[in-house]
């Protein structure tokens, strides 16, 4: 489950932020997760508390904002919603869709004290 290492990276980003901004406790971490990306939101939630235990993010809440999948259809010549990374165009059912959005994985913000 690579979500464990992804959360370790999240905690490292938070720890690094503490060296720039004074705070002693993190009460909420908000992630932006693409619907078509490599990370499964439920798996991120599942391992978050175990990985955060004993760190500055111990007992912090995890919030996940899902960014929907989006693609560019070469036949419709427009942006279309995409449910699967290699899905067909939901408008014309054609296969010439290139994914353009929904692949992010970012720490967006956090609440600190």
């Amino acid at each position: 489950m690579h979500e464990v290492s992804l959360i370790e990276n999240v905690i490292a980003i938070v720890e690094r932020e503490r060296t720039r901004q004074a705070f002693t406790r993190v009460t909420m971490i908000k992630l932006t997760v693409g619907a078509l990306g490599h990370a499964e939101p439920d798996a991120l939630r599942f391992c978050f508390h175990a990985v955060a235990a004993g760190t500055i993010a111990d007992s912090s809440r995890l919030e996940i904002e899902i960014v929907p999948g989006q693609g560019w259809c070469a036949d419709c010549r427009g942006t279309v919603p995409l449910d699967e990374r290699f899905g067909a165009c939901p408008v014309c059912q054609g296969g010439r869709v290139r994914m353009t959005g929904g692949d992010v994985l970012r720490v967006a913000e956090m609440e600190v004290e």
């Binding site: 489950m1 690579h2 464990v4 290492s5 992804l6 370790e8 990276n9 999240v10 905690i11 490292a12 980003i13 720890e15 690094r16 932020e17 901004q21 004074a22 705070f23 002693t24 406790r25 009460t27 909420m28 992630l31 490599h38 990370a39 235990a53 004993g54 760190t55 500055i56 111990d58 699967e84 990374r85 290699f86 296969g95 992010v104 994985l105 970012r106 720490v107 967006a108 913000e109 956090m110 609440e111 600190v112 004290e113």
Partner: protein, 269 residues
């Protein structure tokens, strides 16, 4: 902070360092959890917007690896597949056939044991075993440390055999020139559709164990169609690590791809 790799620990990079240690066998063990620090206290609550890419740190290490490999004049491939598709057997045949003509090196990733690195060393090729412990993939930081133990020589090839896993290694750039995905005909022909991230990330697919085809109901056309749907640009070779079928094409591909990758970049006019 560690000044060698920038990781957030105070440690040296020798035996017994806090985030990994090197076994007597030379295997590098990353199976230790991170040391955390807790500082309780109360102050005014506030929200900080930071907008950081979670994989930025890995990608930074990967770029450093890529630069180092390229400067050494070496071409690196990252071999990925599910467990048991034949990555190590493919490597053993490839190393045996190529070792007279080029300098070779191998990084072996597994959760535990140095069995694979020992198999590789029996071919006479240098190999470093990385044990990921709880981890399900190699990351660029581990590969950087493994490279410290190898000599990369101009015109050489570096093969990185990832942990057998078709999901997680797709997300972690190691600094390789390209990923090679291995699928064997004893697996389902729809695997590229079930695990699209990996097949989308690969430049080459090796369809292994072709010697077993007469005994199976494997639908070759359906498999190739599934792979091409996920990645229309991917090259595909059908091979057998047992009989050697298809290896001439695979090795010719490596030679051509390495030559174009290592060609000096044109200087801007």
């Amino acid at each position: 902070m560690c000044t060698v790799c920038g990781c957030a620990h105070d440690h040296d990079h020798g035996v017994g360092s806090s985030h990994h240690h090197i076994h007597a066998t030379g295997a590098i063990d990353f199976g230790h959890g991170p040391a955390g620090v807790s500082v309780p206290g109360l102050s005014q609550a506030r929200t900080i917007r930071i907008e950081r890419d979670v994989l930025a740190k890995n990608n930074g290490f990967a770029e450093a690896n890529r630069k180092r490999i390229r400067q050494a004049g070496t071409f690196a491939l990252n071999l990925v597949s599910s467990p048991g598709s034949g990555k190590t057997t493919i490597l053993v045949r490839t190393l045996t056939e190529l070792r007279q003509s080029r300098p070779l090196a191998v990084i072996e990733g597994d959760q535990q044991t140095s069995n694979d690195a020992e198999r590789i060393r029996q071919t006479g090729v240098q190999a470093v075993q990385v044990n990921t412990g709880k981890g399900c993939h190699l990351d660029a930081h581990m590969v950087g440390h493994a490279m410290d133990q190898l000599s990369l020589i101009p015109g050489g090839l570096l093969f990185i055999e990832n942990v057998g896993n078709l999901v997680c290694p797709a997300a972690f750039d190691l600094g390789e020139a390209c990923k090679v995905v291995v699928l064997s005909v004893t697996e389902g022909e729809d695997k590229p559709l079930k695990y699209p991230d990996m097949f989308a990330a690969a430049e080459l697919m090796l369809l292994n164990k072709s010697d077993l085809l007469p005994h199976l109901d494997f639908d070759m056309d359906a498999c190739l169609a599934a792979a091409r749907r996920v990645n229309p640009a991917m090259q595909i070779f059908t091979i057998s690590a047992r009989t050697g079928e298809g290896f001439a094409a695979f090795h010719a591909w490596i030679a051509a791809r390495a030559a174009s990758y290592l060609r000096p970049m044109a200087t801007p006019a």
